[in-house]
Amino acid sequence: MMGTAVFYLVAVVGVVSAIAAVSHKNPVVNVLSLVVTLFCIAVSYALLGAEFLAAAQILVYAGAILVLFLFVVMLLGAPEEPPAGERRPFQRAAGLALAGITAAGGVAVLAGIRAAGPAGAAQGTADALGRLLTGPYLFAFEFISVLLLAAMVGALMLVKRKH
C-alpha cells in the first residue's frame, strides 16, 4: 500500500523531471532535473528490493557524474539557450516519424515483458551481487573495467596537446 503510493509518486516526479531535463532552456536546470530523475530511479530500485543498486545509483550517477556535468556547465558560463532559429523543412516530419518508430518499438518491448515482482529478499543485497560479479560474471566484470580504462586513456590521448 505504502510502497504503491511511493511508486506512483516517484514515477510521476521522475517522468516530469525527465521531460524538464530535455526541454528546459537553462542548462543548470537540465542537469538538476536529471539528478531528480536518477534519484527517482534509485527509489524505484529500492522499492524492488535492490538496495545495493539503489545506493550505487545515487553514489555514482547523482553524486559523482552529474556533479561533473554541473561543474562543466558552470565553468562554461551556461548561457540560456536562444530559441532555435531557422528550421529545415523536413525536420519536424522526420522527428515525428522517428518518435513514432521509437514509440512502436517501446510498446512492442513493453508488451513482451512479463510483469516482474520485487526481487527476493536475498537477491538485491550487496552480498548477492558481489558473489555474482566475482563468480559467474567475473570475466565480463573485469572486461568492462578494462574497457572503461581504455576509454579514459583514449580521452586523454584525444585532448593531449602536442609539444
Binding site: 545515487i58 556533479v67 561543474f71
Partner: protein, 351 residues
C-alpha cells in the same frame, strides 16, 4: 504496527533533537575554543560561561532581514540551503549511537539507537547521501550571480570530488575487514576482544594509515580549515554563501556543524570502536544502553574538539597544495591501506 511507528518516530525525534542541540553546543565550543587557543576570553556575558550565546545568536539570525539580491536565480537560490540542511540531517539515520539490541520499549524491540537498523547497505547509503551535499554548495555559488560565490562553489565541487575518492577507499578497508556494509556489524566486530589483553581491537590499530587518510578527507569534505577554500574570507569574501542572509545563511552554518558531527561520529564508528567500551560484557539491557551512549559521547566529543583545535591551529592550504595532497598524497596511501588490509586478511594476521 502503530507501536513500531511510534518507537521509530521517537528515535527520529530524539536523534535529530540531539544533533541539532549539538550544533548549538558546538557553536559555543568553537567560539570559546578559538578564544582559548588565541589566549582571550570569548563570549562570556550571556549565561554561565556564555553558554546561552548560541540561543542569542539564533534569535539574532532569525530577526535579521531576509534579503534576496536582485538578479539571482530565485528558485535555485532558495533550494540550495534546503539541500544542504536536508542532506546533513538525512545522513544520521544509519549511524549507531549506542547498544540497544536487547532493549524493549513498551514491548517493542528498540533494535539499536539508530533510525534505520535494518538497512543492509548502511555505509553506502551514508556515502551516497553525503555525496549529494555538494549540490547545496554548488547551487548556492551558481545561483547567487556573484563571481566570488561562483568561484567558491567551483572550488568546493572540485575539492569534494577529489577527496571523496580517498575517503571511500579508506572506508573500503574497514568494510573489507568487517565483511559487511552495516555499521552495526562494523561496531560489533571491534568490541569485546583485545590484542595482548589490553589493546581493544579497534580498526585504527591495523589500519592507522586508513584512519589518517579518512580523518584528513572528512576535514576536506566538511569544508573546514585547513580546507575551507570554498569560503576563504581573505580572497573570496565568504565564498558560496556571500549573498545569503538571515536564516538562509544560518542553514549553511547549521549544515556545516551537522556535517562535522556526522564526520566525527563516522570516525568513531569506523575506526574507534563505535559505542563499545572495555568491560561491556558485564552489562546488558538499559545499563548497557546508557553506558554505550556515554562511551560514544566521550569519543565523539574528542573528535569534535579535534575539528575546533585544527581549525584554530593550522593555516589554509593553497589550491594547488590541496589538489596535490588529495591526488598524490591521500589517494596512493588509501590504496596502499586497502592492499595491506587485503594481504593481512589473506595471511590471517587480522581476522
Amino acid at each position: 504496527m502503530w507501536a513500531e511507528i511510534t518507537v521509530s518516530a521517537a528515535k527520529v525525534a530524539v536523534i535529530a533533537g540531539t544533533v541539532l542541540t549539538l550544533v548549538a553546543v558546538m557553536e559555543w565550543v568553537e567560539r570559546r575554543g578559538a578564544a582559548f587557543i588565541q589566549d582571550r576570553l570569548g563570549p562570556n556575558r550571556v549565561g554561565p560561561f556564555g553558554l546561552f550565546q548560541p540561543i542569542v545568536d539564533a534569535v539574532k539570525l532569525l530577526f535579521k532581514e531576509d534579503l534576496t539580491p536582485a538578479n539571482v536565480s530565485r528558485g535555485l537560490y532558495l533550494l540550495a540551503p534546503m539541500i544542504s540542511v536536508s542532506v546533513a540531517l538525512l545522513t544520521f539515520i544509519v549511524i549507531p549511537f549506542g547498544a540497544g539490541k536487547d532493549v524493549t520499549v513498551f514491548g517493542v524491540p528498540l533494535g539499536g539507537v539508530e533510525v534505520a537498523p535494518d538497512l543492509g547497505v548502511g555505509v553506502l547509503f551514508l556515502l551516497a547521501i553525503g555525496s549529494l551535499g555538494v549540490y547545496g554548495i554548488v547551487l548556492a555559488g551558481w545561483s547567487s550571480n556573484n563571481k566570488y560565490s561562483l568561484l567558491g562553489g567551483l572550488r568546493s565541487s572540485a575539492q569534494l570530488i577529489s577527496y571523496e575518492l580517498s575517503m571511500t577507499l579508506a572506508v573500503l578497508g574497514v568494510l573489507l575487514a568487517t565483511g559487511s556494509l552495516r555499521l552495526d556489524d562494523v561496531v560489533a566486530r571491534q568490541g569485546g576482544q583485545f590484542w595482548f589483553g589490553v589493546v581493544p581491537q579497534w580498526n585504527v590499530v591495523p589500519q592507522i594509515v586508513g584512519c589518517i587518510v579518512f580523518v584528513v578527507a572528512v576535514f576536506a569534505e566538511t569544508n573546514r580549515l585547513p580546507f575551507d577554500l570554498a569560503e576563504a574570507e581573505t580572497e573570496l569574501v565568504a565564498g558560496y554563501h556571500v549573498e545569503y542572509s538571515s536564516m538562509k545563511f544560518a542553514a549553511f552554518l547549521m549544515s556545516e556543524y551537522m556535517n562535522m558531527v556526522t564526520a566525527s561520529a563516522l570516525i568513531v564508528t569506523l575506526f574507534f570502536g563505535g559505542w563499545t567500551f572495555p568491560g561491556m560484557s558485564r552489562f546488558s539491557g538499559w545499563p548497557l544502553l546508557a553506558l554505550s551512549l556515554v562511551a560514544f559521547g566521550i569519543k565523539l566529543a574528542f573528535f569534535l574538539w579535534l575539528f575546533v583545535w585544527v581549525r584554530w591551529s593550522l593555516p589554509r592550504f593553497r589550491y594547488d597544495q590541496l589538489m596535490r595532497l588529495g591526488w598524490k598524497g591521500l589517494l596512493p596511501l588509501a590504496t596502499l591501506n586497502l592492499v595491506w588490509v587485503g594481504v593481512a586478511m589473506a595471511m590471517g594476521w587480522i581476522r
